[in-house]
């Protein structure tokens, strides 16, 4: 089984980050928090296949190399840096090109969201671009025969199911406990020749199917207040009474 894990480089949330020219920066880029869980899920699935499985990490964007080298240090066997001139628009289509041309892959794993933008839209967009089923908010993964069984934590509760591969699966940060990188692999990862995949420009606009509705700038539902006292009075008028200590 060949697993592709999508990872992302983000600003290290550890030290106090600062804004520079509109970008969040702290000097260091690290592997995204959710990406670590996706990678760990992939490594565990590959190990469960009597070590016959393989895990490849892929990333796109300005900080992709750092994310990929971190993924290699954690145990990914291969890494692909997806090159593109486009930013955001058509990203799923660009990644789908890499999945199709660098594959075949049986499974694409990614985090349910990224820690920097928290959009969480890429898994669905990628599944649509590939024409594969999507399973999201996954808290547990394993195989039952050829089918991947999962538990998703949705608003209505935990949902268990199985999915035929290939599929796109996005995982929560409750699915496992990511391993720590070994220093030896970290050093080896620094020397690893990362593959480059040059994507063709995507003509697709990922937002084209969405109907945009103009939201009025102000609404009767919104009440502006000038002070805490006014806020308490406003809440009182709609039946919310704050208890005084």
């Amino acid at each position: 089984m060949k697993v592709l894990v999508l990872v992302k480089g983000v600003v290290d949330p550890g030290p106090q980050p600062s804004l520079s020219e509109g970008r969040l920066t702290s000097g260091d880029v690290v592997l995204d928090h959710y990406g670590k869980y996706a990678l760990e899920a992939g490594l565990q699935l590959a190990q469960d296949q009597d070590d016959q499985g393989s895990v490849t990490a892929a990333s796109v964007g300005p900080d992709s190399e750092t994310a990929l080298r971190d993924a290699l240090a954690l145990g990914a066997q291969d890494a692909i840096e997806v090159k593109t001139d486009q930013e955001n628009a058509g990203l799923a289509d660009i990644l789908a090109q890499a999945v199709n041309k660098e594959g075949p892959f049986d499974l694409v794993l990614c985090g349910d969201q990224a820690t920097d933008d928290s959009q969480g839209v890429l898994p669905a967009q990628l599944a649509a671009a590939l024409g594969w089923p999507l399973v999201d908010a996954v808290d547990a993964l394993g195989f039952v025969g050829p089918r991947l069984c999962y538990t998703s934590l949705l608003d209505k509760g935990a949902v268990k199911g199985t999915v035929q591969l290939p599929a796109v699966v996005s995982v929560l940060d409750t699915i496992n406990k990511p391993r720590l990188p070994s220093f030896r692999l970290k050093m080896a990862a620094k020397r690893y020749q990362i593959k480059e995949f040059q994507a063709e420009s995507s003509q697709k606009d990922p937002l084209e199917k969405l109907e945009m509705e103009e939201v009025p700038a102000s609404s009767k539902e919104v009440i502006m207040v000038d002070s805490v006292d006014d806020l308490i009075r406003a809440l009182d008028q709609v039946g919310i009474r704050l208890k005084k200590e």
Binding site: L180, F183, K186
Partner: protein, 386 residues
């Protein structure tokens, strides 16, 4: 922070910090400190990460980091617990001493034992041979193609948990020149360990007596020539002295962190005590001691990376940093006032952990003798005058 870390060094420090945050929680450290017990099972993740082989070349299964970077990693680890850190340091220093003194085959055999996840120990001290390392009485008697090792080694870090030892034994009655070094696998018949020392500090590290009762080892286990044991011991100590200074700097960093944080929130006379000049002086002196120590350690480690044996510099670094450590932890306890002597607060343990640093790897008194002797050699025949 005095040192300007490279991005790579920051990455490695982040790795060990993440590891320590998960493994050496305050509750875990407090539990084993109270028990005075080495938490052997807590070293599995450290072995998996390769923390016991950081500066060992990759061909021997290590990560091949320079000494200077390795020092930064272990200083960070010592902020969590210096006893845990020294257990790993003692392991790779033993292997490094084999690499310095022995053949490639011996280094390979030694590395193969510890690389999958095992401890090593350097067995030099005896009841009457501590700082005076040349007074070793344990003997290695030649018997055909073997040596028979007999004697008792005391205060051996990792003594009861090691899978392999580097031991110094007497092969002739010719003083320092009558000592030889051997690698000794724990599985050999005749090795037994005595009681674990119930120490004041570094209570997560194992310190034990190791008895060698007619332990037979092949001559191929001898490191270097017969009679070269004292040199093996001294070269190993040069290395370990620089590394214990590194751990001392980690304790200092922790003491400063705790003290400044506490002084900012502890109020007396309606203001935080950090606003009082007497407290400010202590904190400033602590910070100066830490920064100068870090710079000195980094310089010595860089010299080691360049292949220097740092006989004088290792002694200077160990002496300066571990003496400074005593002042820093004493002031840390003072800043905490009555809470400073309570086990419920962190600085009490830091003070207990610190004292031995002036004693092991050669007392700071003998370090000064070494430094002075090196100066004597340096200045022999040198004309001084401007």
């Amino acid at each position: 922070m005095a040192l300007l870390y490279t991005q790579e060094q920051r990455e490695f420090i982040r790795m060990v910090q993440e590891f320590a945050d998960q493994t050496l929680t305050p509750e875990v450290v407090s539990k084993y400190d109270h028990l005075g017990q080495c938490p052997v099972e807590l070293f599995k993740p450290a072995f998996d990460m390769g923390l016991h082989m950081l500066e060992i070349p990759e061909e021997y299964g290590g990560a091949g980091l320079p000494y200077s970077t390795t020092a930064m990693v272990f200083s960070k680890l010592a902020e969590y617990d210096a006893g845990y850190a020294i257990t790993l340091v003692s392991t790779f220093v033993a292997l490094r001493s084999v690499m310095l003194a022995g053949s490639a085959d011996q280094a390979r055999r030694f590395a193969d034992i510890i690389e999958p996840g095992a401890f090593a120990a350097f067995a030099l001290s005896e009841s009457d041979a501590g700082t005076d390392a040349g007074s070793v009485k344990s003997t290695a008697t030649r018997d055909g193609d073997d040596y028979i090792l007999t004697g008792e080694k005391t205060f051996i870090t990792n003594g009861s948990i090691a899978n392999v030892y580097v031991g110094i034994f007497r092969t002739a009655d010719t003083g320092n020149k009558g000592l030889s070094a051997f690698m000794i696998e724990r599985s050999r018949e005749g090795i037994s360990v005595g009681a674990h020392e119930d120490k004041m500090g570094l209570r997560l590290s194992d310190t034990s007596t190791v008895n060698f009762d007619h332990v037979r080892v092949p001559a191929s286990n001898r490191l270097g020539d017969e009679g070269a044991g004292f040199k093996v011991a001294m070269n190993s100590l040069n290395l370990s002295r620089a590394f214990v200074a590194t751990l001392a700097a980690g304790i200092m960093q922790r003491a400063l962190d705790e003290s400044v944080s506490y002084a900012r929130i502890r109020s007396q006379f309606k203001r935080p005590i950090i606003r009082f000049e007497a407290v400010q002086e202590m904190l400033a002196d602590m910070a100066i001691a830490l920064e100068t120590s870090q710079v000195l350690i980094h310089n010595t480690m860089t010299m080691m990376d360049q292949g220097n044996l740092v006989r004088k510099e290792g002694a200077m670094t160990k002496t300066y940093v571990t003496d400074a450590l005593q002042r820093v932890v004493t002031d840390a306890v003072q800043v905490f006032g009555g809470y400073g002597v309570s086990k419920a607060y962190p600085v009490e343990k830091l003070m207990r952990d610190s004292k031995v640093f002036q004693i092991f790897e050669g007392t700071n008194q003998i370090q000064r003798v070494t430094i002075a002797n090196e100066l004597d050699k340096e200045y022999a025949g040198k004309e001084v005058g401007r």
